[in-house]
């Protein structure tokens, strides 16, 4: 196994309304791993993901590639952690696909030629070449999901964090999305309810329930334990 890229120690997070979403989470992720996070609604999956690039700041320690996710490191962290949100309409906020994919590189202060090169490469990686001048609201959900992934690939991240990447997709778009994610070399953290995506994409699975990690191990073993899954509001694939 390679070096540890994500270290989370005793992370606690309470929402402003007093609801405790994370109650002491510990997690280690090694380079190149593809890890699924599963659990019922409200288990704290999204909240945990939002800590990985400092959108939320709880108590405890979060380190990404050896750097603590805090204050002045945030700029560097956000270049390393590509976060793909569940609803592509939240992620794609520019009038054209090109501008959206170029947003991250432009904000890293890259020169124009490099920005254009990165946009071309990111769109090619997700199989969406030639969509530069299209408008997000004229694309299908499957296409928008791919573009959303391209908007973070253009930043050359070492880690990809995906929240429900396959939700609401038809089987064909879902299948091709899984194949796309399998091909990408990045370390991946995927929150999902889609047990077949978890089985096909991630060798390791973490189960969360009520703000805690309740199981962590090889996907095959966890998904075969029907009793464990049902106890935490899930079901075997």
């Amino acid at each position: 196994m390679g070096p540890i890229v994500i270290e989370i120690d005793n992370l606690v997070y309470t929402y402003p309304d007093g609801q405790q979403a994370l109650k002491g989470v510990n997690l280690r992720v090694w380079e190149g791993e593809k890890v699924a996070i599963i659990g019922p609604n409200g288990a704290g999956k999204t909240t945990l993901l939002l800590h990985l690039n400092g959108i939320l700041n709880g108590d405890g320690m979060v380190r990404v590639m050896g750097t603590e996710v805090r204050g002045r490191h945030l700029g560097a962290i956000r270049a390393k952690v590509g976060m793909v949100f569940q609803d592509p309409d939240d992620q794609l906020f520019s009038p054209t696909v090109f501008e959206d994919v170029a947003f991250g590189p432009l904000h890293s202060g890259l020169p124009e030629e490099e920005v254009r090169r990165r946009v071309r490469r990111a769109l090619a990686q997700v199989g969406m070449e030639g969509f530069e001048n299209r408008m997000p609201h004229h694309l299908s959900l499957g296409e928008r999901k791919r573009i959303a992934i391209a908007t973070v690939l253009s930043m050359d991240p070492a880690i990809l964090v995906l929240d429900e990447p396959s939700s609401e997709l038809d089987p064909r778009s879902r299948r091709s999305l899984i194949q796309l994610l399998e091909r990408l070399p990045q370390t991946m953290l995927v929150a999902s309810h889609d047990m077949r995506l978890v089985r096909d994409l991630c060798p390791r699975t973490v189960i969360m329930d009520e703000g805690r990690i309740v199981a962590d191990g090889p996907t095959g073993r966890l998904l075969a334990d029907a009793e464990l899954l049902v106890r935490h509001g899930l079901e075997p694939p």
Partner: protein, 265 residues
């Protein structure tokens, strides 16, 4: 869901469509300025300006009927605003009457000004309609940026354009959900007006809350990609000579028409 109503015409191809968007934006603003500056009595000038607009609509191969019908949508708003003008402008009295024992007088100057205000507003809307029907919205944003409109304002307009479709979808889903539960088995349903108004109010506040929450998620997505509060964009292309000549000719024409208006009226 697809929404063609906003940009169904801007994909056309004509000399007007192919002009540089910056030229079209400046020309439209110049035209609206000229319309506003035209003296109320200079009706031949108004006629010339109207013919110019209709000529351009024709040259852009747009439907005159659609253009006129769209521009009329704004007339009621203008009427409401301008309604008091005939009564409040000094001049020769034309009619006197009492409205609920309130004495009212319509003056000739007032009527003329009223007519001019409504016509100016209508012409301006027609010209703005021509601009958005021949220029893609994204080009218009680039034009604003390169003409020095503050980036924050361009961003706000850009967000508006991006999310108006999402909002319309959201509103349509809400009203579909309401309509599918609006059963009326014996023809006596429907509820009172007050009750229906309350339901609509609830839908509007739901829409507002969802938009508010979405805006927070969008902001998170921006932060996640390194947004620091500064808006960055790529540099834009340079203007062609032919575009500049067209703009100069158009503005000269406008100034000439206006100068004549001031000389004769």
């Amino acid at each position: 869901m697809k929404h063609a109503f906003l940009d169904q015409y801007s994909y056309g191809d004509s000399l007007v469509h192919r002009l540089d968007p910056r030229v079209k934006l400046v020309a439209t603003l110049g035209f609206i300025l000229a319309v506003t500056a035209t003296p109320p009595a200079a009706w031949p000038t108004f006629l010339v300006l109207l013919l110019m607009t209709l000529g351009l609509i024709w040259a852009a191969r747009l439907s005159l009927v659609v253009g006129l019908r769209r521009s009329l949508i704004f007339v009621p708003f203008t009427l409401v605003v301008a309604l008091s003008i005939p009564f409040t402008t000094a001049g020769e009295p034309l009619f006197r009457f009492r409205l609920l024992s309130w004495p009212l007088t319509i003056t000739d100057q007032g009527l003329l000004l009223f007519w001019a205000v409504v016509f100016r507003a209508w012409l301006s809307v027609l010209a703005a309609g021509l601009l958005i029907s021949t220029t893609h919205f994204v080009e218009l944003l680039l034009a604003m940026k390169s003409l020095g409109v503050p980036k924050a304002i361009v961003s706000v307009i850009s967000f508006m354009y991006r999310y108006i479709f999402v909002l319309v979808d959201e509103a349509m889903r809400l009203s579909m959900a309401r309509d599918s539960r609006s059963a009326d088995p014996d023809g006596r349903g429907g509820g009172t007006l007050l009750w229906r108004a309350r339901v609509l109010g609830g839908m509007i506040s739901t829409l507002f809350l969802r938009s508010y929450e979405r805006s927070e998620r969008i902001y998170s997505a921006m932060l996640a990609r390194g947004f620091t509060g500064e808006i960055r964009t790529l540099e834009d292309t340079s203007l062609q000579h032919t575009d500049l000549i067209t703009l100069a000719a158009f503005l000269t024409l406008l100034v000439t028409v206006e100068a004549m208006a001031y000389l004769y009226w």
